[in-house]
């Protein structure tokens, strides 16, 4: 059997492991944080889907949850946190403010977190129900399993193949802000 068969099977296995062991970094700035707490607490229990632990260091996390409004002044901070996370990494915009700016249209609110960082899944709602956030997590897990998370796509573009382990870090991304 060709080597590519084994490498693709290995990537599938690794992606299967990745999707059930997401370590989240909650970037909580606003009232959506309440729904995030409900999501995390026993009633909805995001831990059932393997995304149990919030790691309050971006270096230990691979899922960035942007929960709440992002202001222009926070933009460089958010970008820096995203850059500190190790590959592969994924981003969920939690709520309309993080997705589009929501009802804010003023001199200080940023129209969506995707202005400064790439976002995989957008969750609508003001705030979203915990079920919506769980739905977004399942959607993200499907993408991770298919290798379609944006950081996986980036790795494929840069390295030409799906990287089964985090052994290869994309370091040649300097200059992109």
């Amino acid at each position: 059997m060709p080597l590519s068969f084994y490498s693709s099977r290995l990537a599938d296995a690794v992606n299967w492991a990745r999707k059930y062991s997401l370590f989240q970094y909650p970037f909580v700035t606003a009232c959506c944080g309440m729904e995030f707490m409900a999501l995390w607490a026993p009633k909805y229990d995001i831990g059932r889907f393997g995304a149990e632990f919030p790691r309050f260091s971006p270096r230990q996390a691979d899922l960035l949850l942007v929960v709440g409004t992002v202001t222009e002044r926070q933009g460089p901070v958010l970008r820096r946190i995203y850059d500190q996370m190790c590959e592969p990494k994924w981003v969920v915009a939690f709520g309309v403010c993080a997705s589009t700016g929501g009802f804010y249209q003023n001199y200080t609110a940023m129209p969506g977190a995707d202005q400064v960082i790439p976002v995989d899944v957008y969750v609508p709602g003001c705030p979203p129900r915990p079920e919506q956030a769980l739905d977004a997590l399942l959607l993200l897990q499907e993408r991770i399993a298919r290798g379609e998370g944006h950081s996986q796509v980036v790795l494929k573009q840069e390295k030409g193949f799906d990287v089964p382990l985090a052994a290869i870090r994309p370091t040649a991304r300097g200059g992109k802000v």
């Binding site: 003023n106 001199y107 200080t108 940023m110 202005q115 944006h150 950081s151």
Partner: protein, 163 residues
């Protein structure tokens, strides 16, 4: 009760420093000229019958297209005498400058910085007049009526084609 303050003010400043006075919902107000701003405030603080020793609030109102365009609004209260007063001062659109009150009430410091940040009113004599809420790179004054709400001043944006 505070009508007595207005009477005393009008008696003491008879040379046109007090433009107008009035009472609205039981709150007395006086409108003064920009030139008399500091002397009137000093008098309100120092006079033994007034003793406006508590600085409540200072803010600004943009009354576009009225001229004078800006109204600086000062709220004062006397803890000893238990009376309060609202002081207004109109400023021209071209170069809104008014005397700082930090010497009289140190608490005015951040309020004047906020009025400067949001409306561009400069307070001469302020010890540290810089933006307090917005970032230093911000251009313009966001609470002015002619500031477009769609205007973006990004500190950071993804470049086209970046992930």
């Amino acid at each position: 009760m505070a009508q007595l303050i207005l009477d005393q003010l009008k008696a003491h400043f008879a040379a046109g420093e007090i433009i107008d006075t009035g009472s609205q919902h039981g709150n007395e107000w006086a409108r003064v000229t920009p030139e008399a701003w500091l002397t009137v405030c000093t008098y309100l603080l120092r006079d033994p019958d007034l003793q406006m020793d508590m600085f409540i609030d200072l803010t600004c109102v943009d009354r576009l297209p009225r001229e004078p365009r800006f109204d600086v609004v000062l709220h004062l209260y006397s803890v000893a005498k238990k009376h309060r007063l609202r002081l207004l001062c109109g400023l021209a659109a071209g170069d809104p400058v008014i005397a700082s009150l930090v010497e009289l009430w140190p608490g005015a410091n951040w309020f004047e910085r906020e009025a400067f940040d949001m409306y561009g009113v400069r307070f001469s004599g302020h010890p540290d007049l810089r933006r307090i809420l917005m970032y230093q790179e911000f251009q313009g004054y966001p609470l002015r009526k002619d500031y477009p709400k769609e205007k973006r001043q990004p500190l950071l944006r993804r470049l086209p084609g970046s992930v």
